[in-house]
Amino acid sequence: MITFDDVVKVYPGGSTAVDHLSLELPTGKMTVFVGPSGCGKTTSLRMINRMIEPTAGRILIDGKDVAGQDEALLRRGIGYVIQHAGLFPHRTVLDNVATVPLLLGKNRKEARAAALDLLDRVGLAPEFASRYPAQLSGGQQQRVGVARALAADPPVMLMDEPFSAVDPVVREGLHREFLRLQKDLGKTIAMVTHDIDEAIKLGDVVVILRQGGKLAQVGTPQELLDHPADEFVAEFVGRDRGLRSLSFDTAAALPVKPLPDDLVLDDAGRPEGWRTADGVRSTAGTFLTSDSLRLVTDLAIMSPVGIAVRVDAEGKADGVVPHHDLVDHLAARRGQK
């Protein structure tokens, strides 16, 4: 368990990055710090391994104050993953991963064998072992970063935006693998992100900080979604979640109106455009019943007349959704949730 006991950090120059933070990060669980930029997430994380010293208050790991411990020894016992991986460019992947075991005095052969094992665990084939970081993609580098942090099998891991430097598809994959890994390993993890969706997906516990380093709310993702403590949390948790959640609903239940006269069709019944005062203008795209409500919303916004056009499997227009019908449908949908 990691305990924040009334921790304060004021940087020289007077900005308060962390303001009287008291928290407990449960053993074997993943606690995710989230909040707007500059709210003190990184500062909070880096005080755990003493990369930053608190101005006041204490941080304890399993009841032991970190302040009394030798910095280097403390850090060797805490896995540390940072954004962009921070790999050593002059060392091979294998030697990067073996770094901490070597610092701890393991012999080179053992350390390398263990490192090879870890590469496998994070989903990297053995042929990556002899490569240099510059020869890896961002996602592969991030995996090596995670393997490196795990190498000495530390009970505690700190991760600062570990998945933010990769594209959404790769991130998705890393999330899945990381959740699987964590299920096996059961590390006590403190992670930072500014992506509330990532926090809700990965965190057992989510800590929401607000500007000025104040604790806004701490709880399980479910608790935060169902019972936000205040306006700030509600807005933060809800910020464009509405729109994103539309991605998960299809247009199947969306009622359509018959085709209006000013929709121009070709001989096969496929929509060509809208007849407007400026001539015929493109429909800006069409949707199928299997498409998401998010796409329909986008089409209604992009359409020159504010109407989304539905087509069947052959591409023939079979109905339209004016944007106010869409709004009514979304309101009804909200009522059901």
Binding site: R75, G86, P89, H90, A134
Partner: protein
């Protein structure tokens, strides 16, 4: 172009005093001494300034000040103060090599990715381990380019030794000029140029060998 001096076999015998091989050896001796002394002085200072960020103005200005100092003038001043001998020559040449070595050591340390250094500390490396295992290897390419430019400059400039009665390839230039033997002057100029190119090649090979392929991009 009169290359008769250069291609006269008599000037290439190792045993004759003042032969080209002997002059090359003495020339290299000044070069190597100046580079060693210069490195011993400039490298730690440059690394320290780069590592801590303290005294950056010194590192930046050393480069400019050093370049604008005329080596021959400095040599004459040193001879006036210390008398003839190897010492004033070495002082003048060392002053020449310090700026590029110091500035590049500083630049190498300053320009390396601080996030990597941060990761090294965060993983539990002690400051000396961070320096030796992470910062130095990463700064090496930039440091080597400074060292190579120092070596090139000092090879060309070590000819001044002859102006104060020492040996080195400058003898060919000065003695040749004194007796209007332009073939000898030309031989001196050519040998200095070839020596510079060969030395730079050797250093380039050394750089290839000591800089990690992860940094140079020359992957196996």
């Amino acid at each position: 172009m009169n290359l008769s001096y250069l291609f006269d076999a008599a000037h290439w015998s190792l045993s004759t005093d003042g032969s080209i091989p002997q002059l090359i050896l003495s020339h290299l001796w000044y070069v190597v001494l100046a580079l060693i002394i210069g490195t011993v002085i400039a490298l730690p200072v440059g690394l320290y300034i780069g590592h801590t960020g303290r005294g950056s103005f010194l590192a930046i200005n050393a480069g400019n000040a050093g370049r604008s100092l005329p080596t021959l003038g400095l040599l004459m001043l040193m001879v006036t103060l210390l008398g003839l001998g190897l010492t004033p020559v070495l002082i003048a040449l060392t002053v020449l090599v310090i700026p590029p070595i110091l500035t590049s050591a500083y630049a190498g340390m300053r320009t390396l990715d601080r996030r990597v250094v941060d990761a090294a500390r965060g993983m539990g490396m002690r400051p000396s381990q961070v320096l030796l295992r992470v910062e130095l290897p990463m700064a090496l390419p930039v440091m080597m380019s400074g060292f190579r430019s120092a070596a090139l400059q000092v090879v060309a400039t070590a000819t001044v030794a002859a102006a104060v009665g020492l040996n080195g390839l400058g003898r060919l230039l000065i003695d040749g000029l004194a007796v209007n033997d332009y073939s000898r002057v030309l031989a001196g100029a050519i040998v200095v140029a070839v020596l510079a190119v060969v030395l730079d090649l050797i250093l380039a090979l050394a750089q290839r060998w000591i800089v990690s392929p992860g940094l140079s991009g020359r992957f196996r």
